[in-house]
């Protein structure tokens, strides 16, 4: 069976969500968590956008596109606040890791 473009990219989005989730759990460094958040976020958007392209002959569905643009801006807003918080925390605590997760370094 030949995968349709929509299905292929939707599966790719699902894979990216999984990869991001792994990073979000495993990596304790807060800037890496911000990075993982962005990977999951774009995975979710790719997932939504791909599913809106299941009828290419009718054209891509513009409603998910609008939702995704809104979502990208919202994700950027959250990222900016998260980065500012991480920097402030690192200046206070010396490291960009939450105290309870500060185990031995590799």
């Amino acid at each position: 069976m030949m995968l349709s473009t929509a299905t292929l990219y939707a599966l790719c989005g699902a894979a990216m969500i999984g990869i991001g989730v792994y990073g979000f759990i495993v990596r304790a460094h807060l800037l890496r968590r911000v990075l993982a958040f962005n990977v999951i976020g774009s995975g979710v958007f790719l997932f939504l956008g791909a599913l809106g392209y299941r009828a290419p002959q009718a054209g891509a569905d513009p409603v998910p596109h609008a939702l995704i643009i809104t979502g990208i801006v919202v994700a950027l807003s959250l990222t900016a606040l998260a980065v500012a918080l991480v920097l402030k925390h690192a200046e206070e605590a010396g490291r960009a890791v939450l105290p309870e997760e500060d185990r031995e370094e590799t």
Binding site: A14, I25, L51, A58, P62, I69, T79, A80, V83
Partner: protein, 313 residues
């Protein structure tokens, strides 16, 4: 058709590869470089999915601004705290558990995708049917600024409040100062020259993107990001300084876009429906909202990237 499929498969492979490297790599800076690449590749994926507007937003925000934000944060961490980005080690068992969670999430989503009906057109017919009433020719702009304008209004407030939230982290003694680091460069150096050459070009592109947005892909958020990048470039080249947080003019600049948007919405409420745009004036109103929004978004984004003031005056 097959060539396109091979292209898609290769792109997906690269996407997964860069995502894994960005998340699992050891060197933090390399991870950020992978993430910037990842943003570029997603932009390509959006083009393959017929989403040119999203590709523009991704190219500007995902690959551009987020990358700059992360590079800046990496630099600050290293300089101020000597934090090179090393992670505390996680024991193997929790790592396996995390991998299991990740595989489960992906697996369940994949199964759901395969179970969804194929050929579903979504809301394409409804948007097409109502496009002539919306005042613009680009369906995505019609959704963003007319059909679902309420979402977009809230989104513009989200961006503004993100800046207020970042400012809320300002140390007491630095309040009202100049956001970010004090930038400087050799006056006749490459950086300063670059900072003089690029802005006019960027300005033209930004105006084009917002103007084109009503009929072609483009719009306020993409154009605002380009303007913000241009302004940040001017600042980084040491040609101009960020305005002080306490500036009244700056605060007016921040709110003018959302205020015009909300104002149009409330006037609409007085004449029938909140955020309702009369067909005859829809195009003019949408353009007015978009230009005001572009300006405010540009100022907000530039200050978001700069962050809180770092040094006293």
């Amino acid at each position: 058709m097959t060539a396109a499929f091979v292209f898609d498969a290769m792109l997906c492979l690269l996407l997964v590869g860069t995502a894994v490297s960005a998340v699992a790599g050891r060197d933090l800076f390399a991870s950020i470089a992978f993430f910037v690449t990842y943003g570029i590749l997603i932009g390509l994926a959006w083009l393959r999915l017929g989403a040119v507007d999203v590709a523009l937003a991704e190219a500007a925000i995902g690959a551009g601004l987020t990358g700059v934000l992360l590079i800046g944060a990496w630099s600050m961490l290293q300089r101020r705290c000597g934090d090179g980005g090393n992670d505390p080690a996680m024991p193997v068992l929790p790592k396996l558990a995390a991998a299991a969670v990740s595989v489960t999430v992906t697996g369940m989503l994949a199964l759901a995708v395969l179970a969804l009906p194929v050929g579903a057109p979504g809301l394409v017919p409804l948007v097409t049917e109502n496009l002539s009433e919306s005042g613009v020719g680009n369906p995505v702009t019609a959704v963003l600024l007319n059909f679902r304008a309420y979402d977009t209004l809230m989104e513009s407030i989200v961006l503004l409040i993100a800046l207020v939230a970042v400012w809320a982290l300002t140390p007491k003694e630095l309040w009202g100062g100049v956001p970010g680091l004090r930038q400087h460069a050799r006056p006749d150096g490459v950086l300063a020259t670059f900072g003089r050459l690029l802005p006019p070009l960027g300005l033209v592109v930004a105006v084009y993107v917002v103007w084109a947005g009503s009929e072609m892909p483009g719009g306020a958020f993409q154009a605002g990001t380009i303007l913000a990048a241009v302004w940040l470039l001017v600042v980084m080249a040491g040609i101009a300084e960020e305005p002080r947080m306490s500036s009244r003019l700056l605060r007016l600049a921040l709110v003018v876009g959302p205020a015009v948007f909300l104002g149009v919405g409330l006037v609409g409420a007085a004449f029938g429906s909140f955020l309702g745009l009369p067909v005859d004036f829809a195009k003019a109103l949408i353009l007015a909202i978009e230009f005001a929004l572009t300006f405010s978004i540009a100022v907000t984004l530039a200050l978001l990237v700069a962050g809180t003031p770092r040094e006293g005056t």
